[in-house]
């Protein structure tokens, strides 16, 4: 996500070619989601599911798939509430992972939605033609039925592309009406099924055997019908056109999953009780076998016996379902390519908005081209499987995005929804999607050729065209200037320490501490300054705000460059904390040194809006200095400990920073408070650490004080010392927002200079934070 600014591309401020009309209500977007879910998939998949998993397995399939869909829907809901813009997964990947990944996400989304659209257009054509054939109305046709189906599919796709061109409102209203019709139809089937089962309870015998082919068949049917739950993608695309998007987008996603799961479970139940086990039509077979034998037509055959004229009504329902899904997929494909065009990753034509209609006509043309080509040329079933694979990749990426974005940008984005038990749901969703994607390998070999081929084409497109043209978004990190003041070959084995300087005063106060730390560690120094640019200022003007930082770095360089190899970096990021953490990772720094003015900016933070996130996320040791003046001497250092993981680093830093000379009376007091609970064994700890760090044992002394108020006891003890060195809080990240933290309270109230340290213990630290 880091971008060198030597050739700054055009910025978002100059891009818009108009805006999309914001007129979709919660009802419209919920119906759009439902429309994409209740496509042809459920009508075709019901019979197959009952045949493969049995009567109980079919209901379990839809209930469990609903729960799984809910996990990914939660991720979509959280992200679209925080980033409510057309583009859906593309935008999430752009914010979470940067340009390359986001291009791939948009590229896959564009293709997957377009191909799904062509599949729905064909389904519509097939059922419509059969409907007319049933009444012998097509004998006059001069062309074959197959060709006629393709012509009808192209015409249908054309009609819905035109409806999408008419505007979001028309798209939403037309889609909502069709979806409402098919949803009510399925609901009626479910209600009739329950009524029939109450009236004739002997039909419940159809549930025996419940799982005739074993529980493992559930995985197959779940994978097969998962496509019938993926409507939240189209809702995410409506970010630019929905009213109150932060509130309505997450609600629509969650409601649509709830509604669709209940309806599917009811419809599955009704299918299984549709025929009595004694009915002559079964010819002695069990119902689930009879339905299974009818495959895709199984649902229709069963429902036609449940209610009068069921077969005709079902045919109409499939026609409605495929058109609403077609409408939703065209909308989704268009917004994905529009977002790519808007950020100049595709030609500008894709971002063109019609002046009167306020619709992205360029992106519509692109989606129309893919849909029509697929309808007329390619084998739809295999291409549709590749679309499923890409949808799974997309969902996988979105679940990763929600974790990364909450972790890195929790203080930057405005959230309209926060999921509970984070990150349990996205992790569960990722695991399930891996299993389902693996299963699809066995379903279609061609799908696993088409999907990688499209992805490789996208990668070539990105590297040859999009990469150099993509605009810089406000979320990115810009490197404004980088300098190295040493020969790279000289410092192969040096310990990398980064020093974050904000202004000349802050830089002066950091020099002494940095000098001691670098000397003890035999370090190379990387000075970093994050340029603070107000939100309303263009990124082009970032350099204008860099003068205090440059001055601060010059001051630090003058004092440190005689002793240590120095490099400097001047960067810009809307969030200083994110910019520094990104630089720490990129430069593989082992220790970060920074200053603290001594008061948090708001009550939300312990130490401050910049320091808290850095302490939480820095992949290295962190040393924060407060009141560490250049002219101060630190002969007596206090190290309060309670047995946490920062103890060893606190002890080491105290030994480095304590002004120690031969025969001098310096001392380091390792201190703990006995509150009546378990007391930390200080002497054993000091023995172990002095041995490990090769320090003189006699410089350290232990002290235990009995008190019920550890904060008061430590503050009282600090009065007898020149400097306090202590670890930051180590509470798990989920609970860091609650209650208070003793080290940070002490840091705020202590009148003596303070050094706060946070030790990086690698994977152990990461796992502990998440658990």
């Amino acid at each position: 996500m880091t971008n060198n600014s030597s050739q700054l591309p055009d910025l978002p401020e100059h891009v818009p070619h108009g805006e999309l009309a914001r007129e979709l209500t919660l009802f419209h977007i919920t119906m759009m989601g439902l429309g994409m879910m209740i496509g042809a998939g459920i009508f075709l998949g019901m019979g197959i599911s009952i045949g493969v998993a049995g009567p109980g397995g079919a209901i379990l399939t839809f209930a469990l798939n609903g729960l799984l869909a809910m996990f990914t829907a939660m991720s979509y809901a959280e992200l679209s509430s925080a980033i409510p813009r057309a583009g859906g997964a593309y935008n999430f990947a752009r914010v979470g992972f940067g340009r390359g990944s986001s291009f791939l996400a948009g590229w896959m989304e564009w293709f997957a939605s377009s191909v799904a659209g062509s599949m729905y257009a064909l389904t519509f054509a097939i059922y419509t033609v059969r409907f007319f054939e049933y009444f012998h109305l097509l004998h006059w046709l001069p062309v074959s039925i197959l060709l006629f189906e393709k012509i009808v599919a192209v015409l249908t796709a054309g009609l819905f592309i035109y409806i999408n061109f008419r505007g979001a409102s028309e798209t939403g209203k037309v889609g909502a009406l069709i979806t409402l019709g098919q949803t009510l139809f399925l609901l009626i089937i479910g209600i009739v099924g329950i009524a029939v089962a109450i009236k004739e309870p002997e039909r419940l015998a159809n549930f025996k055997p419940f799982m005739p082919n074993g529980w493992h068949k559930l995985l197959i049917t779940m994978g097969f019908t998962y496509v019938a739950f993926e409507g939240y993608e189209v809702i995410a695309q409506a970010g630019d056109e929905a009213l109150e998007p932060r509130k309505n987008l997450p609600k629509a996603m969650l409601y649509s999953v709830l509604i669709v799961t209940c309806i599917y479970v009811l419809a599955a139940f009704a299918t299984i009780v549709s025929v009595k086990s004694s009915d002559a039509i079964l010819e002695g077979q069990q119902l689930w076998i009879w339905i299974g034998r009818h495959q895709q037509r199984g649902f229709g055959e069963a429902v036609s016996r449940l209610m009068p004229a069921g077969n005709y009504i079902l045919t109409l329902a499939v026609i409605f379902a495929s058109t609403s899904a077609l409408n939703a997929t065209i909308y989704s494909a268009t917004r994905a390519s529009y977002a790519l065009g808007r950020d100049r990753m595709l030609p500008r034509l894709f971002a063109s908005i019609h002046k009167r209609r306020k619709t992205p006509y360029g992106a519509l043309l692109g989606a129309a081209a893919i849909i029509i080509i697929v309808i007329t040329v390619l084998p739809t079933t295999d291409v549709a499987s590749s679309a499923s694979i890409m949808f799974l990749f997309l969902f996988f990426m979105v679940n990763l995005c929600v974790i990364k974005i909450r972790r890195n940008m929790a203080d930057e984005l405005t959230y309209g929804f926060i999921m509970p038990l984070f990150p349990v749901f996205p992790v569960l969703a990722i695991l399930c999607q891996v299993v389902l994607a693996a299963w699809l390998v066995h379903m279609s070999l061609l799908a696993w050729i088409i999907a990688p081929a499209w992805i490789i084409t996208g990668l070539i497109m990105y590297h040859t065209w999009s990469k150099s043209r993509a605009i810089t978004t406000a979320d990115e990190i810009l490197v404004l200037e980088e300098r190295k003041l040493y020969d790279k070959n000289e410092i192969k084995e040096k310990y990398p320490i980064m020093v974050a300087v904000a202004n000349p005063v802050n830089a002066a106060s950091l020099v002494k501490g940095t000098y001691r730390l670098c000397g003890a560690k035999d370090a190379q120094v990387e000075l970093i300054h994050m340029v603070p640019v107000p939100d309303q200022v263009s990124l082009h003007d970032a350099e204008k705000y860099s003068e205090p930082g440059k001055e601060a770095m010059l001051l630090a360089m003058r004092k440190l460059s005689k002793h240590f190899p120095i490099s400097t970096t001047l960067r810009y990021c809307r969030s200083i904390a994110r910019g520094i953490v990104s630089a720490l990772r990129q430069k593989r720094v082992k220790m970060l040194v920074m200053g603290w003015h001594g008061r948090p900016s708001t009550s939300l933070f312990y130490l401050g809006a910049t320091i808290d996130p850095i302490i939480e996320r820095a992949p290295c040791n962190v040393v924060v200095l407060k009141d560490y003046g250049e002219d101060k001497m630190f002969k007596h250092v206090l190290v309060p400990l309670a047995g946490g993981p920062n103890g060893p680093l606190a002890l080491e830093i105290a030994a480095i920073l304590c002004d120690h000379s031969a025969g001098d009376g310096d001392s380091i007091t390792v201190f703990t408070v006995d509150t009546g609970r378990r007391v930390f064994d200080l002497d054993t700890f000091i023995d172990e650490q002095t041995r490990r760090l090769h320090l003189e044992r006699k410089r350290f002394q232990s002290k235990v004080v009995k008190s019920r108020n550890p904060v008061r006891a430590i503050l009282d003890e600090a009065k007898n010392h020149d400097l306090v060195v202590m670890g930051t809080t180590q509470k798990p990240i989920l609970f860091q927002f609650a209650g208070t933290s003793i080290p940070e309270i002490i840091a705020r109230h202590c009148e003596k200079p303070i050094v706060m340290v946070k030790s990086d213990v690698g994977v152990r630290s990461w796992i502990k934070r998440w658990i």
Binding site: G56, L60, G66, F210
Partner: protein, 52 residues
């Protein structure tokens, strides 16, 4: 009654119950965030902890 049917019914009930519970919880959270004007994730989590 068949053990498989009992287990199946329990799983279906748990799955549907889970979806409904998550919907209710989420709806309440969305409305609370909108009403109180919470902005960042940190602020929202902190205020929600405080409410408890």
């Amino acid at each position: 009654m068949d053990v498989e049917i009992i287990i199946g019914c329990v799983i279906i009930a748990l799955a549907l119950g889970g979806i409904i519970a998550l919907n209710l919880w989420s709806r309440r959270t969305i409305n609370r965030i909108a009403q109180n004007g919470y902005r960042t994730a940190r602020q929202t989590l902190r205020e929600m902890q405080r409410d408890k």
